[in-house]
């Protein structure tokens, strides 16, 4: 089960849960699983087949460039963070 950290501003939609464990081999499956458990999260993490603009995902400490298609391992740690640019 992947360990998904809920951003502080979204915890009102997860009954205060700071993290949840869900099954999923891709980020898409993981997001679908937590949306199913917490329906009020819908629209806060993804817009259709994409993460919402400005949002990025870190999987096992790595900011993925694959969006919802990123692979998630059974023991992965998932964070949702602001997208990073650079100069």
């Amino acid at each position: 089960m992947a360990r998904v950290f809920i951003p502080p501003l979204l915890r009102e939609h997860t009954d205060g849960a700071t993290e949840v464990s869900v099954a999923g081999k891709s980020l898409r499956q993981v997001v679908a699983a937590i949306e199913e458990r917490f329906p009020n999260l819908r629209g806060h993490l993804r817009d259709g087949d994409r993460l919402i603009p400005g949002l990025a995902a870190s999987i096992d400490g790595v900011m993925t460039t694959q969006g919802l298609l990123a692979s998630v391992g059974p023991d992965s740690e998932v964070h949702f963070l602001p997208a990073i640019g650079g100069g």
């Binding site: 502080p8 964070h79 650079g86 100069g87």
Partner: protein, 768 residues
């Protein structure tokens, strides 16, 4: 430890380096062109029948455009075309993914050419193409714009206040997808939590809380923005431009003009600096529309004032930092409240600011809140580690004060609390192997830190900094030539010597010399998709592509050697730049000479999208002398210590460290946008916007630390951005050490510091 006397550079490596090319200092491939003036920058490009474009900019900070009358300009002899926002397609309120980030196309379009409102002085409102610059300028004077002036605001806290002038009627605060009920200037709120911050502060023996302000500053690239567009009669648009990312430039231009991306070719010319400021488009769509109207190529060259007033500087900020620590030096809690200026449209630089503010430390309890705020300044843009320098100034200043309060050496205090492998950042992710501790140890053991600093009004400071460094996408193509050289085609525009650092990684992989690789930066039709030169990613990611294309070429060359020797390919080995089968051996160069007889040409390609950050840290030491009668600060000595992972070309790495430190020194001591009472920038020239020059600085000393990145075959980490992060914190600490004044506002310019010294003197005299 090797010492290069010319730059007082030293290096130390934590990993074996069995390389022949990597770590050497070959002459850059573009060196002859650069030093002889033959390198082609955009302004060097002259096309047949080309005409000159100029842009009319808003004279006021905020106003509604009631009407624009261009008839007189259009009737002026020599004028070929005039465009306003009416010539742009209706902007789509959608977000375009640009690889490195996302941009709202309606905001981007309105920033390129104002629609119903101007939001800052310098906002483009119309453009002209004419046979000469003089005629174009005359035509601009004939354009009549009727403005309804509106109240304006240019300080982040004022823009956040109730009753502040609103820039956008349709902007609502975004809290992770939840929008505010009323329009506001606060476009984003971010919050990170770790542990229990209240409990952490309760456990602390010492708690320090301070507030900081930083000014709006510009990247200050030498080459102004220049673009040429030719909209051909076949509908194809070709753009020559100074850009950090030819592919994202192509995408932005196509999206704003609503034309197929395949109908746009972007030719990246040589670029005279960018530092994040040449990622967003400003001129390209305008030149394109002018070209379409007049049927000629159109060149637009910004003035220096245009660059200051019409492109993106970095945000001014207000930051409050609170730290708690035990008497043994272990920090128990940290809290930050951060408000960043976005300029006229949302930018999101607050995100990395919040992620970086405590990124150097292993903290059990922390809370970070951040706000992205629009106001009447140019739309902010990335600038070398965007958001991190402001955050580090605040955090490192309090860290220095905490160490002093506890009576602990500031480097030892940092070592006690330093982030390391396994540390969970406040925003969540856990660090893999990182090199902060090694940079701190190298700083502690340096000759600089161990030297005595004597004399009145002199002080020494130290600070650390972090930047993620990113991967994104890169593509390369490589052709083996009959003379044994390899032509390497890449899409990464070369700002910091990356042609050579990438070529060296291919040379290392092939066992040939760096000079035998011939790197070429090519246009968007000539190589695979490549993301921007930014985020300290090119030597890391495009270098990884070069490594992989090297493996591809090696395999193909093994196949040709097998044909030559009539053996199976798996019986051919590649060793030390040569192909070997039993007693038979042929060098790469000799085999290349036989390729025409051995089958198909050898052409390799590689595409990569490495994920993750390369996590680079640096620690800076500075000695200053303050003139208490004027407030002028002189940098006496400056040392940069930074983890490169692996320094591919040490000279270029040293150059990045030195350049970044100098820009950070500029932020700290002099640079700022100054606004008049009408909120118009009043110092938009290098005479009045004071950047450091060689006369202001000592030679910046460098110490290279190498803690190899486990996620790169040669251990490369990004290096370009970290060195701008520590200077403000280090210099502020040195100033305090020198004259007892804690500087909380950037820049620490002579009048500001003199006033603080005088106030401190009065306070001290009053107390005694």
């Amino acid at each position: 430890m090797a010492v290069s006397p010319e730059s007082k550079a030293t290096s130390q490596s934590n990993g074996a380096a069995p390389f022949k090319v990597i770590g050497t200092r070959p002459i850059r491939h573009d060196g002859a062109d650069k030093v002889t003036g033959r390198a082609l920058y955009t302004n060097d490009v002259h096309l047949p029948s080309m005409v000159h474009g100029q842009i009319l900019r808003s004279p006021i900070a905020h106003g509604r455009i009631k009407s624009i009358d261009t008839s007189a300009a259009e009737n002026l002899p020599g004028v070929y075309a005039v465009v306003t926002s009416a010539d742009f397609p209706d902007p789509e309120n959608k977000t375009a993914q640009l690889g490195e980030g996302a941009v709202n196309l309606a905001h981007l379009s309105a920033n390129v050419m104002a629609r119903d409102k101007v939001l800052y002085k310098g906002h483009a409102v119309a453009a002209v193409a004419a046979s000469s610059l003089d005629i174009a300028e005359e035509a601009l004077r004939l354009i009549k714009v009727d403005y309804e002036p509106l109240p304006s605001v240019t300080w982040v806290l004022d823009a956040m206040a109730d009753g502040a002038p609103l820039l956008h009627d349709d902007l609502f605060t975004d809290r992770e997808g939840k929008k505010s009920e009323k329009p506001t200037n606060i476009c984003q709120y971010i919050r990170f939590e770790q542990g229990d911050v209240e409990k952490g502060f309760a456990e602390a023996d010492v708690v320090i809380e301070r507030e900081f302000k930083t000014a709006t500053v510009h990247q200050g690239y030498i080459e102004p923005h220049v673009s040429i567009a030719l909209w051909n009669t076949d509908g194809h648009l070709k753009v020559w431009t100074a850009t950090q990312g030819s592919f994202t430039c192509r995408q932005q231009t196509a999206e704003l003009l609503q034309i197929p991306i395949s109908s746009v070719t972007v030719v990246p010319c040589e670029i005279g600096g960018g530092f994040g400021g040449k990622i967003s488009v400003y001129l390209e769509p305008v030149a394109a529309l002018l070209s379409r109207k007049c049927g000629r190529p159109v060149k637009i060259v910004m003035t220096r004032a245009d660059c200051f007033e019409g492109t993106g500087p970095t945000p001014g900020t207000f930051i409050r930092v609170k730290l708690g620590a035990k008497r043994d030096g272990k920090m128990t809690a940290a809290q930050a409240w951060m408000a960043y200026e976005a300029g006229a449209y949302p930018t999101g630089i607050i995100g990395p600011g919040c992620m970086c503010v405590f990124s150097c430390y292993d903290l059990p309890n922390a809370l970070v809140e951040g706000f992205d705020v629009v106001e009447n300044k140019p739309k902010s843009a990335a600038y070398r580690a965007p958001g991190a320098t402001q955050a580090a100034f605040a955090c490192e200043s309090v860290v220095y004060e905490m160490a002093e309060t506890l009576g602990i050496d500031p480097i030892e205090f940092r070592l006690i609390n330093a982030a390391r492998e396994g540390t969970r950042r406040v925003d969540g992710p856990v660090y893999p192997r990182v090199g902060l501790i090694e940079t701190l140890e190298a700083a502690r053991d340096s000759q600089h830190w161990g030297s005595k600093l004597e004399g009145p009004n002199r002080g020494r400071g130290v600070a650390s900094g972090f930047w993620f460094n990113i991967g994104l996408k890169s593509s390369v193509t490589a052709n083996v030539n009959p003379d044994g050289t390899v032509t390497l085609l890449e899409g990464s525009t070369d700002i910091g010597g990356t042609r050579t650092s990438i070529a060296m990684q291919l040379a290392e992989t092939l066992g040939i010399t760096a000079e035998a690789v011939l790197p070429q930066v090519v246009d968007t039709d000539s190589v695979g998709y490549t993301d921007v030169t930014g985020g300290s990613r090119v030597t890391f990611a495009t270098g990884l592509a070069a490594y992989r294309v090297g493996l591809d070429l090696r395999q193909q060359m093994c196949d040709r050697a097998a044909r030559l020797w009539d053996c199976d390919v798996d019986q051919v080995e590649y060793s030390d730049g040569a192909f070997v089968h039993g007693e038979q051996r042929i060098s790469f160069k000799d085999l290349a000479g036989k390729l025409s007889e051995l089958g198909d040409p050898v052409v390799g390609r590689a595409t990569v999208s490495p994920e993750g950050s390369t996590n680079s840290f640096g620690t800076h030491i500075v000695d200053v002398e303050v003139d208490p009668e004027t407030g002028k600060v002189t940098i006496l000595r400056y040392t940069v210590v930074q983890d490169a992972g692996r320094a591919i070309h040490p000279s270029y790495f040293e150059g990045q460290m030195q350049g970044g430190a100098v820009q950070g020194i500029g932020w700290t001591l002099n640079e700022e946008y100054v606004f008049d009472k009408e909120n118009r920038m009043s110092n938009a020239s290098y005479l009045d916007y004071r950047m450091p020059t060689a006369l202001d600085l000592p030679m910046i000393e460098t110490i290279i630390v190498e803690v190899p990145n486990p996620d790169h075959p040669y251990g490369v980490r990004g290096v370009g951005e970290v060195p701008i992060v520590p200077p403000p914190g280090a210099i502020a600490a040195a100033i305090y050490h020198a004259v007892g004044v804690r500087a909380d506002t950037l820049p620490i310019s002579p009048p500001r510091l003199w006033a603080a010294i005088e106030a401190h003197r009065r306070e001290t005299n009053g107390a005694s």
